[in-house]
């Protein structure tokens, strides 16, 4: 910051708005020297890893689902994957496909909440959805329709729209009725208009800040499909490794200004989430999703973190088409109720790695005699925190050089945090301590 030696800047945003949970931005530049640039996480930890110890193996998904009201399906599916891994349960192909629809519904639901309700007000320079809706009513209505459709898919395939109950370890307790699927199919097809209308509005009315920083992108990767529910871990720097090696990929560390731990891998930070998946698995996107990306001006790879919101819209389109194809297959081949597969062993050590809206979610359990002895959860937002701070540190001098006012810089930093769509409550963990 040589040429910024006369600059003094003090920014303190208490409770960044339109994110899930509580976080603060602190920036302090004194005579050109960056003294402080932090994303503080001040959310209280909730000790899920501690109180799941002692519970029975089959209770786990219903407990972890409660970690988040937005990503309840993601936590359910990740717990199920981890317990099935530990107890060597191999589920049927039908179960895998039903889970794919369920996860698609959550990706659509969470992304639409972020795109239309949390991020879009920034695009219209308004403070919230209420004032934004006055400026673009259509966009708010589209958001509501897509969110409702996604919740209804979750309801039909998971037994209820939030915190699913029919998806359990070993399979499903019920399968959807044909008429329910037909009705969803019709609405999913109709939603194409809403996606393209959104693309049209964004192209015409939205200017995404143009700040580029290349980073390491980490996501799941699957040989055949755009990976959400299963796959191994892929780093854009170091390639593929087994999902079992999640600790080597995340390297959690405690930092003093955050109740959520920070992560790093090949560099001092990495990114997970829609943009990371888009960059790592672009070739496996549905063609119409690639078309959405092209129309929105997403490059490949895309290194502008503000573009994460657009990558989310690309994924909404991908999931919409994937749901249509899967439901058509279910209707053609007739879903049948399959009794959930029960474990034959009750001891094991298992990892679940599932792509949830904000990135890879890891759950790890050690089970003895059917009881959870140890649990470890690594949440996507925690994995992104160090990368957000590194973006802030890199973009700040550029913003200052562009003669942005303090208010403009503050807004751009808030928008940056929001672009990552952080779910702070989920990421706030307990700190591990050892007493002498």
């Amino acid at each position: 910051m040589e040429n910024l030696k006369n600059i003094n800047l003090d920014i303190s945003v208490k409770y960044i708005t339109r994110v899930e949970g509580h976080g603060n931005i602190k920036v302090d530049i004194k005579t050109g020297e960056l003294k402080e640039c932090k994303l503080e996480i001040v959310e209280a930890p909730r000790f899920y890893e501690a109180f799941i110890r002692g519970r029975k193996w089959y209770e786990t998904p219903f407990i972890t689902s409660r970690i988040c009201g937005i990503c309840g399906i993601g936590h359910t599916l990740t717990t199920i994957a981890a317990v099935e891994d530990a107890l060597n349960i191999k589920v049927t192909e039908q179960t895998k496909l039903l889970r794919r629809v369920l996860n698609n519904s959550e990706i659509m639901q969470s992304h639409s909440l972020h795109i239309y309700f949390l991020a879009a007000p920034d695009f219209y320079k308004t403070t919230n959805i209420f004032t934004m809706a006055e400026k673009n009513k259509e966009l708010a209505l589209i958001g509501l329709r897509i969110k409702k459709l996604s919740n209804d898919i979750g309801d039909v395939f998971g037994g209820r729209s939030i915190h699913p109950i029919s998806s359990i370890i070993g399979g499903f307790t019920k399968v959807p009725e044909k008429n329910e699927m037909k009705s969803l199919l019709e609405r999913l097809k109709k939603a194409e208009e809403d996606i393209w209308k959104t693309v049209e509005i964004f192209k015409k009315e939205v200017q995404i800040p143009n700040y580029i920083r290349e980073t390491e992108y980490i996501s799941l990767k699957h040989p055949e499909i755009y990976a959400f529910n299963e796959g191994n871990i892929f780093s854009s720097d170091t390639g593929i490794t087994s999902y079992k090696n999640y600790k080597e990929m995340t390297n959690e560390t405690v930092v003093p200004h955050s109740t959520a731990k920070h992560c790093k891998h090949n560099r001092n930070s990495y990114m997970v989430g829609a943009l990371a998946r888009y960059n790592n698995n672009y070739d496996q996107l549905k063609e119409s999703a690639k078309k959405v990306a092209k129309e929105l001006g997403l490059r490949h790879p895309e290194n502008n973190p503000y573009m994460n919101t657009y990558a989310q819209l690309v994924e909404v389109e991908h999931c919409r088409v994937d749901c249509i194809e899967l439901i058509e297959e279910f209707l053609k081949n007739n879903l049948v109720y399959e009794k959930p597969i029960e474990p034959e062993i009750f001891n094991g050590d298992g990892v679940g790695a599932v792509e949830v809206p904000r990135g890879i979610l890891y759950h790890h359990y050690i089970i003895k005699d059917g009881i959870i002895k140890e649990a470890n959860f690594i949440i996507p937002t925690g994995q992104n925190l160090a990368n957000i701070e590194n973006d802030m540190k890199e973009f700040l001098p550029k913003m200052i050089k562009e003669n942005k006012s303090k208010e403009e810089i503050t807004l751009l930093l808030e928008m940056l945090v929001r672009a990552y769509d952080p779910c702070i409550s989920c990421s706030a963990h307990f700190l591990e301590v050892e007493f002498i």
């Binding site: 409770y15 960044i16 708005t17 339109r18 994110v19 899930e20 949970g21 509580h22 009201g69 937005i70 909440l113 309700f117 949390l118 007000p121 403070t127 919230n128 959805i129 209420f130 004032t131 809706a133 006055e134 009513k137 708010a140 209505l141 509501l144 969110k147 409702k148 919740n151 209820r160 729209s161 939030i162 915190h163 409550s425």
Partner: protein, 162 residues
């Protein structure tokens, strides 16, 4: 006119359960015919789906209004000081009933036929049952709601016939 009665609340969360408790009681009493009864304990955003010009919506919920515990009030969002639209909500978890109604208003939906039956809570704690004061009044709340719905139905019929 379609009547939709929505009970909002969480079980095992003290007086926050009141919306669902009243709804359950109203269904048992069976005085209100041809109404849709809806329980909401999770996503409140779905309320918007029920808003239509021809629907009378009554939302039953625990509301902090500065009254004595167990007292109640029926109101419309137009009766409230509109602070929500001026401020950002700080978290997606803070998008509650009022925010939904203000959003409905922002996108031009008619909110005049949406009413809230608010009951002043005494205690909202996890793993707690309804407080005795609220429990004792369950029948009274139901009667008031039944009277209110009847009055609205008569008003609607009178204006439709005229």
């Amino acid at each position: 006119m379609k009547i939709i009665i929505i009970g909002v609340g969480s079980e095992n969360f003290g007086d926050d359960y009141i919306g669902l408790a009243i709804l359950k009681k109203i269904k048992e009493r069976n005085f209100i015919k041809n109404a849709n009864f809806i329980e909401i304990d999770k996503t409140s955003l779905n309320i918007i789906d029920y808003i239509s010009e021809n629907n009378l919506i009554l939302i039953i919920d625990a509301v902090k209004m500065g009254l004595n515990p167990a007292e109640f009030k029926i109101f419309n969002i137009n009766d409230l000081k509109d602070n929500t639209t001026k401020n950002s909500f700080t978290s997606s978890h803070q998008f509650g009933i009022l925010e939904n109604l203000y959003l409905a208003k922002s996108i031009g939906l008619k909110v005049e036929n949406i009413f809230i039956f608010g009951v002043e809570p005494k205690k909202i704690f996890i793993n707690e049952d309804l407080s005795d004061e609220l429990k004792r009044n369950l029948e009274i709340y139901c009667k008031k709601i039944e009277e209110f719905i009847e009055q609205k139905q008569n008003h609607y019929l009178y204006h439709t016939i005229l």
